[in-house]
Each structure stands twice: as C-alpha cells, then as structure tokens.
Amino acid sequence: MKTFLTACKLTVSEYLSYRTNFILWRLRNFLYLFLYYNFWSAVYTYQKQIGNYNKQEIFFYFIVSFFLSDLVFSSKVFKLAAYINSGLLSKYLIYPVSVFKLVVAEELVDKAFNVIFSIVEVMLFVYLFKIQIFIEFSFYYLIIFLLALISGILLYFFINLSISLLGFWTNSVWAPRFISFIVIQGFSGAFFPLDILPDFLYRVVNALPFSVLIYLPMQIIQNKINFDLAVTKVAIAFVWVFLFYALSSFMWKKGLKNYSAYGL
C-alpha cells in the first residue's frame, strides 16, 4: 500500500514537472469537447436525425463517451515495451515488488489522474454550453453498466499489455501499436455511435471485441439496449477479457525466457 502511495506521488510529480506539456494536454482535452460540439452541431444543421440519434442524443453521446474514453484509454502500459527494448526491464525485475503490480499501480494512478481532470472539464463544458445531461435508470441497469465498464477497462488493459509484450520479440513495437490504436479506437464507439454505420458494417463491427470498450456502456446508459441482451454482451466481454489475459500471461512467461537483458 505504501509503495502504491509513493508510486502515485511520483507519477503526479512527473506530470507536473512538465508545465507546458501538462497545460497543453488539459487544454487539448477541453478544446476537444468544444470542437466536437461545433462539429456535431454543423452535421445536424441540415438533418434532424441520423440513424437512431437526434441532436440531443448525439451531444449526450459524445460528452459521456469522452469521459468514458479518458477512463478506458488512458494507459501507461506501453512504457513496458520501452523498458524491454532498452534493457531497463532488468532493473525492475530485481525489485522486491512484482513488475506486474508496478504496471497495474501506474495504470490506476494514470486513470485516476485523467478522470479527475476529465470530470472537471466535462462539468465546465456542460455548464458553459448548457447541455442537457440526465441519466436515469434502474439499479440493475447501473450494475450492468458498471460491469460493462469494468470489462472494457480490463479488456483494453490486456490488449495493450499483449501488444507491449511484443517488445520481447521485436524492436519496433510502435507499428503494431499504431494499427491497434486506429482499429481499436475507431471501432470502440469512442468517436461515433456504431449504429450509425450501415447495417452490414454495423453487425460486423459490433461482433468485434472493441465495441465493448465504449459503445456497450453507452448503449446501456442511453437505454438503447434491452436488459437481457446487455447481460449476454457483458458476459461475452468477460470471455474476451479472459482470452487476452491468457495471451498476455503466456507472452510474459515465454518472453521472459527469451529475454537476454541486452541493449544497455
């Protein structure tokens, strides 16, 4: 627990030591909200409805998905790839704390840090632009929503971890990361609700595990999915989580055997 607190303090100090970087980062986030507000307003100028969404619903979607994105997608796992490639991993392997625990700790701190600021940014934005956000749903929906969210966070974590662990076998992890970044975020529902896609494409994309990350929790919170279907999807999500967990476990063990601590 003590190590966790120290890790927290260190990460926060790290962020704050780059003043300009930090300010620009948060500015960018807030600006993102402003920009997409204008974007969607423009799109709806000549249309009243796109697919299942009217203007209000789309605003709701992009603001809440913005917050969820910060929660799900903020991650420091890729640092592991850099450690492996540079040989710095050796330093962490000798620590009395398991590397995995360190990675998880940093991840949680990063997400917490992001989420806190994200909430402030969203609230400020909603206040300034008078967006209507109200969420009302039953206790059971809340539970399934939280479960969906948790499965999304875990899924993204293990996918990222698997890709980072490719560092054991190749020096250029950046290429797979780039592709995964585009594909995952594109099909996660972070930028747009997946059901505005034409029917055939929608069914394909919905079947991919990435739709669980943002789109599924959004569907639940907007009451656009019936309860039983939601439960089934969340269950399938956890299966995906387990699959990627198994994959990263396997890669870690295999990779460590090959690891020759070179590079320094």
């Binding site: 780059y18 697919g51 594109g186």
Partner: protein
C-alpha cells in the same frame, strides 16, 4: 538564387532517398504502418459516408458528392503535408538529445534540415492513392477545364504553405518550450473540423476556421474552385492568410533559434 534552389532540391532528393531506404529496411513495420494509414482513411470515409448519406437536400449547393470531394481534398492535403514534413515529428527528440546542435553546425539551413528531410514513402503511397481517387471522382462528377485545374493547383499550394507555416511554428515552439506533441494533437483536432464543408458551421466558428486557425479556408477554397462556386474574395482571403501566417512562422522560427543560442543545454 537559382543555384541555391537547385542545391536544396538535389539535397531534398538525397535525404528522401535515405528516408525511403530506411523504410524498406524495416519491411514489417512499414507494411503495418501503411495498413494503419489506409485503415484510418477508410474508417474515416465510412464514418462520413454514414453520417451524410441521408442528406437528402442539396443545401447551399452541397450534396453528398460535394462532401466526398471535401473529404478527398482534405485527406490529400493532410497526407501530402505528412509526407513532406514528417521530420517535424522527430523534432522534439532532436532538441532534447542535443542533436539540434549537430544540425546547426552544418552548412545547410536549419529550417530545411528540421522540416523537409524526413520524407515518408508510406505517406507518399497513400497520397498517390488519394490523388488518383480524387482525379477519378472529379472527372466523373464535375466538369472542369484546365483553367479551373490550374487555379485549384495554385490554391492547393497556398494551402500547403499554411501547413508548412504551422509546422514551422510548432518547431519554434518546441525549441522554447520543449513541447511538440500536444500542440500537434491540438492542431490535428482542429484540422479535423475542416473535413466537412465550412459553410455548415456557425458563423462564429467559420470565422475562427478562416482567420484564427485557417484550416477551414485552406480546404474550402480549393473545393469551391472545383465545384465552380468560388469567389474572388475567398481566393484573396486564402492568399493573404497563407502568406501572413507563413511570414509569421518564419519570424517565430528565427526568434526561437536566437533564444536557443542564448541558453546553454
């Protein structure tokens, strides 16, 4: 003067060859990157198509065809910028590691070295595909003559000039504040707004995208030229804005270099 231009053209080609060779050496990553870039374009297209396919009125002269044209021109512009100015993305590490010093001791303009020496063949490939798609689409859906094409070409160059201005400013900013990535991120976010017709936006926002961060106008004017809906006023605005920001960026760059030379690393 001509000799200098020829020297730099030849030098650009030398650097481009090295950059191309590096990509070919790393076949695996290069192919993945290429797939990624194509995937990004295709996903974006699917999104825009889905959103606007139900646009049933020809509003302000803009139907689905015009929106696709916007999309193609925008992406060609952005991809060509990334092709030419790729080395800006490595700039931050140059400053931090001190490699910028090495650049400054060479008898080559530091601006050239930092901005134009990293031509990315993958972006070129994507750009070629986009240009082909653009050409085919224009030919099939719009009537153009050589005057229009020439005017389009000129406007496109002006648009690239503004892109250059932005990247130069980013590097200058990077020298002083050591921060480049988030700034580029912000620009990319704003730039994305220009992917749909400028006239769809509220007047205030249109103003911002024309004069404050001219990403809107640099896409809007070339497209308007192709559609045949252009106005002389808009072309003048584009010219003034591009030259203005370009000049400003050069001043900023010079200032940044001077500041760099006043601080010890």
């Amino acid at each position: 003067m001509i000799r200098t231009v020829v020297f730099y053209l030849k030098l650009w080609w030398s650097f481009a060859q090295k950059s191309f060779s590096t990509s070919f050496y790393n076949r695996f990553s290069s192919i993945l990157f290429l797939i990624g870039k194509l995937a990004r374009t295709i996903i974006a297209f699917t999104f825009f198509f889905s959103v606007f396919s139900r646009l049933n009125t020809n509003v302000n002269g803009y139907g689905l065809n015009e929106i696709i044209l916007y999309f193609l021109v925008y992406n060609t512009l952005v991809t060509l910028s990334e092709f030419l100015f790729r080395s800006v993305f490595e700039f931050r590490s140059k400053v931090i590691s001190g490699s910028l010093d090495q650049v400054l001791t060479k008898p080559v303009s530091p601006l050239f070295s930092c901005l134009l020496t990293g031509a990315d063949p993958l972006d070129l490939l994507v750009a070629v595909l986009l240009i082909s798609a653009l050409a085919v689409f224009i030919f099939l859906n719009f009537s153009v003559n050589s005057y229009i094409l020439l005017l389009f070409f000129v406007c496109f160059i002006l648009a690239m000039m503004f892109q250059a201005a932005f990247f130069i400013s980013v590097m200058a900013f990077g020298i002083i504040f050591f921060e480049v990535d988030h700034l580029i991120g912000i620009y990319r976010d704003i730039q994305f707004m220009a992917e749909i017709p400028l006239r769809f936006y509220k007047p205030v926002f249109q103003f911002i995208l024309t004069y404050v961060v001219p990403v809107g106008i640099i896409v809007a004017v070339p497209v308007e030229v192709l559609i045949g809906l252009f106005s002389l006023q808009n072309i003048i605005v584009l010219t003034v804005v591009s030259f203005f920001y370009f000049g400003l960026s050069l001043l900023f760059w010079r200032y940044a270099l001077k500041k760099y030379s006043s601080a010890s690393s």
